[in-house]
Symmetry: C4
């Protein structure tokens, strides 16, 4: 068991190369925010852009742009545009605020069919439930990240919450492509990949607000294309650490911590960690 | 007569249990914000989420999400969705920015018919007028909270404003289910339940802005599902106290205090009060 | 010539009566923001609410509520609602961001025909041009406030800009109902009523941004129903003073001062002035 | 080679003339933000208004006004209004978030045909690609500003990125009207006009976020009509300097710098530079 902590975070976060441009940190496609869950994908996009993603595309337009004109947005039902965006994206995140209906299922299958090797697929929220209902999937990528909370992991793995021990979870994870990363969200969130297990020690009850998961998913997406000299597992662990460390920091002065507060703090904490990173 | 003050607030506010998740503090359904009063429910939702509500659903979508992507939003006229949301909600608040028309009356009746024991119903704003116009209601819950200002209480109780003495108000309250809580808003707001009466000593003219009532209603909703080890009356009193204490604090530097300013301060005051709460 | 300065402002601004409620400071109706000028009325509403108006109604809904859920908003073409709102309003402001077309002309005539004695009418922006094009108006109120800049005053008075001397302006003002207040906007803005003339000494080029006039109009509306123990001329002068004093204050740190920055500062400056007001 | 630095910036930025009004700094027309790129023009408008533009018009209404009610907005497909706005504008910027489709091409041709001598035309983003695809253009103005990044300059000049030396770029620039200014964006952005070349020394990888170019274009537009006693080249260089200097400043505390953060800081840096400008 690895501890996911500040020491690890400082090792991962490095100053950006001087010749970075907006394409350096990849294209990230966020899919979700369908009626009546339009706010979720806004939180995801805020987290993703503040985590340093170069380009972000997603659905749900007006209110998103009032928060974040930095994100490009389009109508998910614009299928030709969706297919072209899937093709040019390095990371695809599906799930935050995605209604569990037939159209969502269709979009999810379209993505599974369109993926190519090396594209990263993050499956979050209701997309995990869509996945649980699918027959055997022929995975086109082995860079798969799953981010279930305990109930979603129950549906996906068949393990009831009390059965979700470390060993049982690792066994269940073998049904997914080798290299799949599992972010098992709980009061003591763990990150699994094969036999590796990491765990955060920070975090707490001040996160009991809807939208925290959407924010974490956006951070994982945003960090998935940075610090590429480190394994993907490290970058996912970094997202998990930053999310909890910021929440804990804000909870020193706020009884309730809202997800949008977390996104706002990401650039500052990453800067602070990057400054001591050269020693790491 | 109890004084609703900082001492009481500190006794009620406790650190959150370490294993809290977004479902711990209940599901809260806010109904209102119909044309042309769309802003009201935004203020209510801001207050509710900042008060620590786990999940919030409501009507009036675009502008809400530009303030608060944390809230789920849907069209009130989507009746199937409304019924399913009523069923899974722990607290239902109806009234802020609800037009007093036939559709509103229909929705209100739908809620009264769908409620089950233990669900909390908060009736605010124009929903109090809808209630005043109804024949005898067969209440499905005894966890009813009414939040009238003096004119609304006149319509509901039949007592003209000069007649609204403590004794007359207590007598009128007996026409509602036993245990009903009345937040009688006035420059000296009182909270009634049966023979119990609490009164705040803070508050003042800096609250003379439209939207203050919408904000208070949202805070009552948000706090209704927290601190459940304390009686519901205490939690309602806490909302009344926090609302006035924050307004008074802001008035030290602002001639006019806007409702949205109050919501923004809730997490900070609750944190400050929770830190000394262990002594309480 | 009176100097409109801090001394005057302190005399006018008084602590609010302890029993103020949202109706105390009147109902204010703002009319404008029609396509393609939708932003103007948002600035007006921000200024009006931050100046302490109790209730505000206006057109142009979504984007307004993303700034200011405190304001009620409706569609101007909803004529029945418009007429009912005119009736219950104490102050009506027409003009900011109002397109100069037939519909605007029709609405303006509707207002002129509906006004009753004691209602305050503020004519700003393009409504001044609509007024310039009208034949003789039969005024239903003598509480008229005109807020032209130099070019608009030229159209309204027939005086070319070089001809707009104090004497000529006073003479032209006699064509309006007795008691009409003229806010003659220029780098040295003056306020006229009959033989009285006030002038501000603060203000400067940092105000050269579209929207400053919309903001001033909103402040005049917001203050028109406060400090009613003072003549209306004083309250208008106060708005002119606060607008310029805040802009000057912000210009100490900002090369460009945006109108929305001014509105945000109103509650703080009014508070500061009210604290020394008892000596005034 | 000139260094574009603080010394130059201080020479250019002067206190505003005391009799400035909103028309003093010109009318600026921003064209872009068509589906699915609506956010881009919001960032451009934020930069433009914060840089001190007097009046700004553009497309994409709701979300824009939630950021910036100061901007007037209209539907680009409203051709009569577009033509009338082109006529009264001093500077026209086309490109940020403009889809590269037939309608965009048509609008671009309309602008090229409508321009008159002395109007400034800034061609940015996808409008540079539209330009690259056009046959010989008969330019109606010699006040042309091009703002390509390296890939866009490749399409426009025919020079591959490695071929984009200073000499080759100067030669390619001769195909445009004499006096054309080229802002060649790269990690070491250079500004060309005829034989003159300026280069910034500040700037870095913290700018690797979508929207930085939209923001720079807005700043160039906003500054194009100020400091008219200095050559246009100086004003463009000032925009380039301010953009990078602010990004560098923010990067001291933020790992990621978002474009909207830059716009917010413009008034403050301009003020600071203007205060020492009298010594310049």
């Amino acid at each position: 068991m690895t501890v996911i902590d500040e020491v690890l975070a400082k090792k991962i976060i490095q100053p950006r190369p001087l010749d970075s441009h907006k394409g350096t940190f990849g294209r990230i496609l966020l899919i979700g925010g369908t009626y009546p869950y339009g706010g979720a994908i806004i939180m995801t996009a805020l987290a993703c852009v503040n985590s340093g993603a170069g380009l972000v595309n997603r659905d749900n337009i007006g209110a998103l742009h009032s928060h974040l004109p930095e994100a490009m947005a389009f109508d998910l039902w614009d299928q030709a545009l969706l297919v072209s965006q899937i093709k040019v994206s390095d990371t695809i995140l599906i799930g935050p605020g995605l209604a569990e209906d037939d159209t969502a299922q269709k979009i999810f299958k379209l993505i599974l069919a369109s993926l190519v090797q090396d594209q990263i697929l993050i499956v979050d929220g209701s997309a995990l439930n869509l996945l649980a209902r699918q027959e055997a999937v022929s995975w086109q990528t082995n860079r798969l990240i799953l981010t279930p909370h305990q109930k979603e992991w129950e549906r996906l793995s068949g393990l009831s919450i009390p059965e979700q021990t470390q060993e049982a979870t690792q066994a269940a994870l073998r049904h997914f492509p080798q290299g799949t990363i599992l972010v098992a969200k709980s009061p003591q969130t763990k990150v699994y990949q094969g036999q590796r297990v990491g765990q955060i020690l920070v975090g707490g009850p001040y996160q009991a607000t809807g939208g925290m998961g959407d924010t974490l998913a956006g951070m994982i997406a945003g960090l998935s294309m940075q610090f590429k000299e480190r394994p993907l597992l490290d970058r996912v662990s970094l997202a998990v650490y930053l999310h909890s460390a910021i929440a804990q920091g804000l909870s020193q002065s706020h009884y309730v911590v809202l997800p949008t507060m977390i996104s706002q703090e990401i650039p500052r904490l990453m800067k602070a960690l990057s400054e001591s990173s050269s020693d790491g």
